[in-house]
Symmetry: C2
Subunit: 261 residues, 2 copies
């Protein structure tokens, strides 16, 4: 199987490396900014192409590892042969966005946070696939199983729910860590102090249901502490509003749960 990767961002990098590791060399890479394509080509041993018309007929799998907006734009520029499978890797773009640009289309969505300089073990990542036909789904499953043993078929709607969940559990969580980090350092305290707590909080969620694991002032509806904290956050309106909103949600969530018991 010959692969072309269009895009040169974090997903393109990690997916290319995972394919190579699985024994599928990446033949061609393309990116709107040719500098980044050259970098990825050097890293993967692929050929960097500057023009989409140079996409080789030998390519079997065209991977669109692009931003959500770029996916349909780049797909529309392609002139694929019937044997060439067109696949995007986005959580929030439906299969419909590329369906008309190739005979067979699909999605390979690895659910993980990728940073260029942080190595990931792809075999631990769940990979979600979708295809325009049973045949495509089977084909994508075979391909994806080389990357990870955890391959699941989902609909476009389920995939966007996966992506939103990931935004809450990963992107927004990291933002909360960033707030904690800034709060500590601005008070002459070390971010190190909070690390055992970050570790334990994740560890608990990995071994239980977070809905049963909630702790803290809002869970206890401890108004006095909440008010003290809001008062201390008075110099940062955004953090203060966020503290208030999340606390109100937690109070509401657990008072409802109590009523149900």
């Amino acid at each position: 199987m010959n692969i072309a990767v269009l895009g040169a961002g974090n997903v393109a990098w990690h997916l290319s490396k995972a394919f190579i590791k699985a024994g599928f060399p990446v033949q061609q890479v393309w990116n709107r900014s040719s500098g980044k394509a050259t970098e990825l080509a050097l890293e993967t041993g692929a050929n960097s192409i500057t023009d989409l018309s140079l996409l080789s007929e030998d390519i079997d799998l065209v991977l669109l590892a692009l931003s959500d907006e770029a996916i349909p734009v780049v797909a529309a520029e392609l002139k694929l042969k019937p044997h060439q499978l067109l696949v995007h890797t986005s959580g929030s773009v439906g299969l419909d966005a590329i369906r008309s640009y190739a005979v067979n289309t699909g999605v390979i969505y690895p659910l993980q946070t990728f940073s260029k300089n942080v190595a990931v073990d792809f075999t631990e990542i769940p990979v979600f696939i979708e295809g325009d036909s049973r045949k495509t789904v089977d084909q994508l499953k075979q391909i994806a199983l080389h990357l990870s043993p955890n391959v699941f078929e989902v609909t476009s709607e389920q995939r966007i729910k996966l992506h939103i969940s990931a935004v809450f559990a990963c992107n927004f969580t990291n933002y909360l860590y960033a707030i904690a980090s800034e709060l500590l350092t601005s008070s002459g305290l070390d971010f190190e102090y909070i690390k055992p707590l970050i570790k334990e909080t994740a560890h608990k969620a990995l071994n239980g249901n977070p809905i049963d694991l909630q702790t803290g002032p809002a869970k206890r509806n401890d108004r006095q502490t909440i008010e003290k904290h809001l008062q201390m956050l008075r110099d940062n309106t955004e953090w203060q509003q966020l503290y208030r909103a999340i606390s109100q949600n937690i109070v509401k969530m657990y008072s409802q749960n109590d009523e149900r018991r």
Copy 2:
């Protein structure tokens, strides 16, 4: 050193067990609800007392492991001898709240999330101390070092900042995990799917600065994806508002950072 623990919540349980493990038996336990005190007494081999006037003169350290509101109330009911050190364990209550109720007063604040049925390794927990005098601080340091090698002296104001950071990095993070869990299960998806991501997000923060590790649609200011996600969250106004607020904060944070570069 003879210890009495007043309170029977999660902190009282874990702190009692940690003291016993360190070789300091807990002599007496008290709680407003005597049932819970009896339970803790059975667990720790201490005597359960129903009346604060029964606090023994042999007690050297009186630990107030109580809710923030209860700390000054219970402290006011005590009639301590000059040799008895009065200590509370709260993140958000100043030392002043108990200063007038004993000759020597202090704080021992272990920064961790405690659930009754989840064992914790106290030696990994940072313990923050404060005392009414240099002598008390030294004394508390000696005591706390039996619990954990990570003992730090902080002011009341720094301690409340530690607590607020913990609320963001632990309590609010767990709430985001809970949202992810509910989003997934309501779409016929498994919370398991997101666990590698939770693990990796925490792992990255433990090995770097979260401010440099932000990823996701808001970091990229990817309006199209953000709008799609908000649209999908239309049935839950609270989650939708939270998604919007955090995304706006992240967009603002990183556009400011970009300008600074």
